[in-house]
């Protein structure tokens, strides 16, 4: 499942742009590939994240993976519900399973991300 209003990164994160803020999570494809998520490690509010660098960790029954930030900026919100209910990433990756909201340093970084159609094609290619 791919949601049309979102932008996607090659590391399978999605971004929902709202003004100068970006909400970030991992795609349905990513959660499916990881399997049952059992633990999530997130940054704290006020932390700076950098595009293409790890901002957190998702641990599933299969693997421990870094989550990369598609954009640079300051973390203004963190989904603390994930700390107690990491399975939200599996059940609702684009909704309740969001991870952080970042205040964008540079909106032009969004241009490097894929549209839903591009991401769909990217997934086909990866297979």
């Amino acid at each position: 499942m791919i949601k049309s209003e979102l932008k996607y990164s090659k590391d399978h994160e999605w971004v929902l742009v709202e003004g100068n803020k970006a909400k970030i999570g991992i795609s349905d494809h990513a959660q499916d590939a990881l399997g049952d998520v059992v633990f999530v490690e997130l940054p704290e509010e006020g932390d700076e994240v950098t595009a293409n660098e790890s901002f957190g960790t998702v641990e599933s029954v299969k693997a421990v993976s870094d989550v990369y930030s598609p954009v640079s900026g300051k973390v203004v919100e963190v989904n603390e519900a994930l700390l107690d209910s990491p399975e939200l990433i599996n059940s609702d990756p684009y909704g309740e399973g969001w991870m952080i909201v970042v205040e964008l340093d540079d909106a032009s970084q969004l241009d490097g991300l894929m549209s839903a159609e591009e991401y769909e094609a990217f997934l086909k290619e990866e297979e």
């Binding site: 633990f39 490690e41 704290e44 960790t57 641990e59 421990v64 870094d66």
Partner: protein, 445 residues
């Protein structure tokens, strides 16, 4: 028999292979000025027989605890080790300090570690234990690191925690940017008032020892409340875990992490090592805990099997995220502890703890009744207590040694204002006669 592995022929073959003619040429790049000008003054080799004679002669100068009445504790405890422990440790299936690199193939090793973890959890009242650490001091320090977060990087530690443990903590803290604040004891106990005065919003944890360095039993519930009310953790370090045979488990008194020394269980004193650190915590710290955890599961045919359930980050993956460099551990020492505890059982450990308690209290009464000796603290204690002597403790210890008594630890080495104070330890091994003899000797000085 020649024990040098290389013959002259071997050496010239190796030199030929790399294309140099002599050792001299091989080291040609090293300036002559920094090379030794003459051959080192090493005497000619000895035969095996001669070496044995020489070394066993030297070893006779050593004193050991078989020959002495030991009243020295302070972090290393003279407890009985059942003979089967050393015998079983020597079995080739077990005789390594490491957990195997292909762990699941060694089910016996993993099962032994699993049993060890279970026992540590039972003793400490914690949910999880790792497979062991280097020693008590590093285990306590790793607990402090677990407690710290980016916004909380202060540790408050009571000065009634083992001074050497505090030094290890300071050493680690310096490079990790952790601030360590030391709270003075009041009458031999960590006082809520002195701990509370150091607490800030950045306080990650309070560390106390249980029983503490002076042998006294801290009020864990009171200190736990202080920590938790300030949004900090309580780390309890246990240096003499035999005490847990009768004391309430720290976990039941509010501790969040318990770290300590397991030497008392089946491991000899031997110059401070190898010892056995244990580290146990409440469930929610499982991913912050360094080292590895063995878990029990079933294989594809439903048979019981043991696996390395959790190896946080130290070894295989994501090493850059590691919080600790512990990866190997003290598996053999942990095995000795497991075997000793299995042999003792719950009841046996309690009896052992009671013997320590009773003998120490008998010694306390006997010694403090002497005009030469004064009691220092009035707090409840386990198997160690502090006495004040009229004479210089070093001189007293020297005189005691002549009577084959290893005296207690003079505390002036670690504490100002305790110039004449001695920390005395009495374990289950000390007989009434030995205690009476110590009293007699001290009374004669």
């Amino acid at each position: 028999m020649n024990y040098l592995p290389n013959t002259d022929q071997d050496r010239s073959a190796m030199l030929r292979a790399i294309g140099v003619s002599s050792i001299e040429e091989l080291f040609g790049d090293i300036p002559k000025s920094i090379r030794p000008q003459k051959p080192m003054a090493i005497p000619r080799g000895l035969s095996e027989f001669e070496v044995k004679k020489l070394v066993s002669g030297l070893s006779k100068k050593n004193l050991n605890l078989e020959d002495l009445s030991c009243f020295l504790g302070a972090g290393a405890y003279d407890h009985y080790i059942p003979s089967f422990v050393d015998q079983l440790l020597l079995r080739s299936e077990f005789y390594t300090a490491y957990t195997p690199y292909q762990p699941e193939i060694s089910q016996g090793t993993l099962q032994a570690i699993f049993e060890y973890q279970t026992m540590i959890c039972e003793l400490t009242g914690m949910d999880i234990s790792n497979a062991s650490m280097y020693d008590g001091a590093t285990a306590m320090t790793e607990a402090a690191i677990m407690a710290c977060e980016r916004k909380k990087n202060e540790i408050i530690i009571s000065d009634a925690v083992h001074p050497e443990y505090r030094e290890v903590l300071q050493t680690y803290a310096k490079s990790l940017g952790i601030v360590v604040k030391v709270a003075g004891h009041v009458n031999g106990l960590a006082a809520v008032s002195s701990l509370a005065s150091l607490i800030t919003k950045q306080t990650a944890a309070i560390i106390v020892q249980y029983p503490n360095f002076f042998g006294n039993i801290e009020d864990l519930p009171g200190i736990a409340k202080l920590a938790h009310d300030s949004d900090a953790l309580l780390i309890t370090t246990v240096v003499e875990p035999v005490a847990l045979g009768i004391l309430e488990a720290p976990g039941k008194c509010g501790a969040d992490i318990v770290a300590g020394e397991g030497q008392s269980f089946g491991n000899g004193i031997s110059f401070g090592g190898p010892y056995l650190g244990f580290l146990a915590a409440k469930d929610r710290f499982v991913r912050k805990m360094p080292g590895r955890i063995v878990g029990e599961t079933v294989d594809n045919q439903g048979r019981k099997a043991y696996v390395l359930t959790l190896q946080a980050r130290e070894q295989h993956i994501r090493r850059e995220k590691a919080t600790s460099n512990i990866c190997s551990n003290q598996a053999l020492c942990a095995l000795a502890a497991t075997m000793t505890l299995s042999a003792l059982g719950k009841k046996g450990l309690r009896e052992m703890a009671e013997l320590n308690l009773q003998k120490a209290h008998y010694a306390y009464k006997k010694l403090t009744a002497l005009p030469q000796v004064e009691a220092v603290f009035e707090a409840p204690f386990f198997n160690e207590f502090v006495i004040r002597l009229k004479k210089d403790p070093e001189a007293v210890n020297k005189a005691l040694l002549e009577a084959n008594i290893l005296g207690g630890l003079p505390l002036k080495r670690f504490y100002q204002g305790m110039e004449n104070d001695v920390l005395v330890c009495v374990t289950e091994i000390r007989s009434k006669e030995e205690i009476d003899f110590l009293a007699e000797r001290l009374g004669g000085m």
